[in-house]
């Protein structure tokens, strides 16, 4: 190792430790479930709009308070709103504050809005008729609700327009369903808790507030939102991390102490694990800004891989006949060769995960490769210091274990190889003859607690009025383009206008606003309806002149959705502008004729019908298929590498081992009832990488089969422990990954230990250096 590499290692190590100590708050654990969705958006403007929409959705949740007593439900909802509002970063929204925000934003532009009936009246009625109608309304019994004061809207036209809008918008705040009174409200995060610990704290506070309301008002409280799924997944992942990390570390500790009976080798193993995992975390933070919780779950299994380098290193020295020979250049060259090839195959295996267009797999690839590289460097640089003192291993015990294993499985290596190949062929036949089950539905990737799922379904049936995961995407250069496209859409045969909800529900088009403003000259112009109205009531002309002046000043001013959203943060981000392009989302109401809506959208170039679940499934399917093809290419590349490295073509047949292991693992998981997804395929890259790791080590150290087999045994135990624990994860994606590697790597291990048994004359003597 050159001085430069040594200096780089020391610098990185020190820099990492300093960064972690000075900046611990920057190491955030991310629980964003969107990382499991494939990246397919190439348009940065659309990505920005989608991110805004996704962020908005993930930062809202719905709360439902139910009771058979109307008052209890209303009081309980009110108390819960107050309790939630006291929690930092949370705001409970009610129809009242949403309407208030909307009203304050729209009122300055009130001369731009007219209802259809008002437009008709302006067309057909005389100023006298309209003035008389306004006067009548003043006297009318019950004409008590004026949304804006008389002096701002003396004719009451804007008030009527707003009341008409309120009636159009379905109020879900309080309804009666199946004999129960249901009060619903939305909660938004003004300050979304970034880390897992913060999210868990907020979750605890919310559930405590809910429980308190349940107890006090004898009501049932339900909630629904991505936040709860994220917390649930994080909790599940936390349990996995603990299981895998504690299990792996404990396994390594027991194994190292049992075999080496010394703290020195253990120190190197633990140092390399700490350096590897620590650098993996820091690399994730530097590149992605945080460490995803699933990265840590997968990353925890790295412990089992990282420790292999220490084991390989020590067994290389154990294999030397005397300590004096340890530092000879020949031995050093052999070790270096084996170690380099071993880390390259692992890096290729883990690096292949980044081929997939899944952010989570890219994150895992970065974490793992950074961790493996650092751990390897740690072993290579610190190893010589450790082996300065004699290392002793309980080889006798390991030899007994290996001998027992070989008695069972390796008595006839050729028969074993033939059986393996037959099994692989059988597995291939099984897969090709209809046994292949696939499932690319991203919902199957998550683990969701049944209670949470039940709540989600109950809340959805009571409140959700829109199709989940389906919407229309409208594009345009100018705001009017969006409205024109929506108008064409509504006019398309078979489209029910009420089936969709978009910006048109909140705001008329700029053209419509300008036209409506112009039409109201009949109301507020000289000698117009307002003048006639004032005269009929006996009001002095100057009393209405401020309104007329406001009308004149409002000329040319148009309210746009961006300004409306700025004034009313509770509006969903249905409108996004980026690089001169406008994107607008239109939501689809439940139980709508989706075929008709899709047909209409397909016929209008500016509108795209988006089915996010369908698209995600399609993209994941494509990832799975591409992954399978890339796996074949990886085998070809590894074959080339082996052929060039060993300058032999026959060496390529070594690849039959990981290939057979992969086929048998796939057939086994299919038989166990799992349907294949992209995570199974990605795990097959590791079966190749880890399998080649064993085989290369076994081949490189073929003259020392006993030591090699012991090293492989120890290495396999640690790897299988880590991946075995992954296979028992509650998270389906982790389970898929773990089960393939557990089975595949077990086969790799059996092959390595049985097929590279060495010639009898090569049997070693002695157990230590």
């Amino acid at each position: 190792m050159s001085l430069f590499i040594r200096l780089c290692f020391v610098f990185t190590l020190v820099a990492g430790i300093v960064f972690a100590c000075v900046n611990p708050q920057s190491i955030q654990i991310d629980t964003n479930l969107n990382d499991l969705n494939p990246e397919k958006v190439s348009d940065p403007g659309l990505q920005y709009a989608l991110d805004s929409l996704t962020n908005d959705i993930s930062q809202r949740f719905i709360v439902v308070v139910k009771s058979d007593n109307k008052k209890h439900a209303a009081d309980g909802a009110k108390a819960l709103q107050s309790a939630i509002n006291t929690l930092p970063g949370l705001q409970a929204l009610t129809n009242e504050n949403q309407q208030g925000g909307y009203l304050s934003a729209i009122t300055p532009y009130r001369f731009n809005f007219l209802s259809d009936a008002q437009r008709d009246a302006l067309e057909s009625d005389t100023p006298q008729q309209m003035a008389r109608a306004a006067q009548r309304k003043l006297y009318q019994l019950g004409e008590g609700i004026r949304m804006v004061p008389f002096e701002k809207d003396p004719l009451g036209w804007f008030s009527d327009y707003l009341l008409g809008l309120t009636e159009q918008i379905e109020s879900t705040e309080s309804i009666e369903a199946e004999g129960e009174y249901v009060n619903t409200f939305t909660v938004i995060f003004n300050d979304f808790p970034g880390g897992m610990a913060e999210q868990n704290q907020v979750y605890q506070q919310i559930t405590e507030a809910e429980q308190s309301v349940r107890d006090e008002f004898n009501v049932s409280v339900l909630h629904s939102g991505m936040f709860f799924f994220a917390v649930d997944s994080a909790q599940s992942a936390k349990a996995d991390i603990q299981l895998i990390a504690v299990g792996s570390i404990a396994g390594v500790l027991v194994l190292m102490l049992l075999v080496f009976r010394s703290l020195l080798p253990l120190t190197l193993a633990l140092s390399s694990i700490a350096a590897g995992v620590g650098f993996g975390i820091l690399a994730s933070v530097w590149v992605f800004g945080s460490v995803h919780v699933l990265t840590i779950v997968f990353g925890a299994s790295l412990i089992g891989i990282v420790v292999d380098y220490s084991l390989h290193y020590f067994y290389h020295f154990l294999s030397s006949p005397s300590q004096a020979n340890v530092q000879t250049s020949r031995h050093h060259g052999v070790l270096y060769r084996a170690m380099v090839l071993s880390v390259i195959t692992s890096l290729v295996g883990y690096g292949a995960l980044s081929i997939a267009d899944l952010t989570i797999l890219k994150k895992i690839a970065l974490f793992s490769c950074a961790g493996l590289g650092m751990a390897w460097l740690c072993v290579m640089l610190l190893g010589p210091w450790v082996v300065r003192r004699p290392i002793e291993a309980r080889q006798a015990m390991l030899k007994v274990v290996i001998a027992s294993l070989q008695r069972v499985i390796a008595r006839r290596p050729k028969a074993l190889a033939a059986t393996g190949l037959l099994l692989a062929a059988g597995s291939l036949l099984y897969v090709l003859s209809g046994g292949l089950q696939v499932n690319d539905d991203p919902r199957r990737f998550f683990h969701v607690s049944p209670t949470l799922l039940q709540q989600e379904q109950a809340v959805s049936s009571l409140t959700q009025v829109y199709e989940p995961g389906r919407y229309l995407l409208v594009r345009g250069q100018e705001p009017q383009d969006i409205f024109n496209a929506l108008e064409d859409f509504s006019a398309f045969p078979g489209v029910n206008k009420a089936a969709v909800s978009g910006i048109g529900d909140w705001l008329p088009s700029p053209e419509r606003q300008r036209d409506d403003y112009a039409s109201q000259a009949k109301l507020y112009g000289q000698g117009g309806v307002l003048d006639v109205f004032a005269a009929a009531l006996g009001l002095p002309a100057e009393s209405v002149s401020p309104v007329k002046a406001e009308y004149t000043n409002a000329a040319g001013k148009v309210l746009d959705f961006t300004e409306l959203s700025r004034a009313n943060a509770t509006l969903p981000p249905l409108w996004s502008e980026k690089n001169g392009q406008i994107y607008s989302f239109v939501l689809i109401r439940k139980n709508s004729d989706l075929t008709a809506l899709k047909a209409a959208a397909d016929s209008i170039p500016a509108i795209e019908y988006v089915n996010t679940l369908g698209n995600a499934s399609k993209a994941l399917k494509s990832q799975r298929e591409t992954g399978a093809m890339l796996l074949v290419i990886a085998y070809v590349l590894v074959a080339l590498l082996l052929a060039l490295w060993y300058r032999s073509v026959s060496v390529i047949q070594l690849l039959l081992i990981p290939a057979s292991a992969s086929l048998i693992a796939v057939a086994a998981v299919l038989l166990a009832g799992q349907a294949l997804n992209v995570f199974h395929i990605m795990a097959l890259f590791l079966v190749l990488g880890l399998g080649m790791d064993y085989i290369i080590f076994a081949r490189e150290m073929a003259d020392k089969p006993d030591t090699t087999q012991q090293a492989i045994l120890l290495s396999a135990i640690t790897s299988l422990l880590s991946f075995g624990l992954l296979a028992f994860s509650a998270m389906p994606v982790v389970q898929a990954f773990g089960s393939i590697i557990l089975i595949g790597n077990t086969i790799n291990f059996i092959a390595a230990i049985s097929l590279f048994n060495g010639k009898p004359e090569n049997k070693e003597k002695g157990s230590h250096v």
Binding site: R136, Y139, L141, G142, G144, I145, R146, F150, T166, L539
Partner: protein, 231 residues
């Protein structure tokens, strides 16, 4: 269980029973108070004078007219001055504005006419509705003060005051003062109340026709609102 905890349990049970009894008594009192204020009978007619004070308007808006209420049909609220028109309240959703020339305009939307609905329930003597939705107290002047309890109601309404004045007529005059959420006051005096003793929708319709013989369709709208919904 110790004597101490038994005593505490007994006290707690006593408190719960006492509180429920008090609550029931309070509701009964409120209903009695309301019944004494509301017009009695199922069918009656009368006169009204309404005065509305609106912020920003220097002059009060005064109107007068007559009305006919039948628990079987609904309400005809006929404004005579300063102009003639009627509002026909059949129920919460089927309401119309009727002009002298026979023009009928359906009044859509519940939110807009929430005040009218409250008013019709007052005439109906729906004491149960008011005890459920309002906190009712009696002021020193003898007037009843009704304060809405639900947020929804408070959005439009601040308070209702109902008081009674004895008149020469057998039925006392009733003054209803409604203060809405914007601070606007509407005061309605109902007097010259004439109660009718009959049963059935047909009789109620005939009485309506007798009162509004010259008004096309008004009573027919109350009897069969569905036929006029397309107007």
């Amino acid at each position: 269980m110790s004597r101490f905890s038994l005593a505490r349990l007994g006290l707690a049970l006593f408190s719960v029973v006492s509180i429920s009894a008090l609550a029931e008594q309070s509701t009964a009192n409120e209903e009695t108070l309301l019944s004494s204020m509301f017009p009695s009978g199922c069918h009656f007619s009368g006169h009204f004078s309404q005065q509305k004070a609106m912020e920003g308007l220097p002059v009060p808006l005064k109107s007068t007219g007559d009305f006919y209420y039948s628990c079987d049909l609904g309400l005809v609220w006929h404004t005579i001055e300063p102009f003639s028109e009627a509002i026909l309240y059949v129920n919460g959703t089927n309401n119309f504005r009727a002009e002298d020339d026979g023009t009928l305009t359906p009044l859509s939307g519940v939110a807009r006419y929430i005040m009218s609905n409250i008013f019709i329930r007052l005439l109906k003597g729906d004491t149960g509705y008011f005890t459920d939705e309002f906190a009712i107290t009696q002021e020193d002047s003898g007037a009843l003060l009704l304060l809405p309890e639900s947020d929804m109601m408070r959005k439009g309404l601040d308070a209702i005051r109902i008081s009674q004045e004895n008149t020469d007529n057998a039925q006392p005059a009733v003054t209803i003062k409604v203060t809405d959420a914007t601070g606007q006051n509407t005061q309605v005096l109902i007097d010259q109340i004439q109660a009718y003793e009959f049963d059935g929708k047909r009789k109620a319709y005939e009485q309506c026709e007798a009162l509004y013989a010259d008004k096309t369709d008004w009573c027919r709208v109350l009897r069969s609102p569905g036929r006029f919904e397309t107007y």
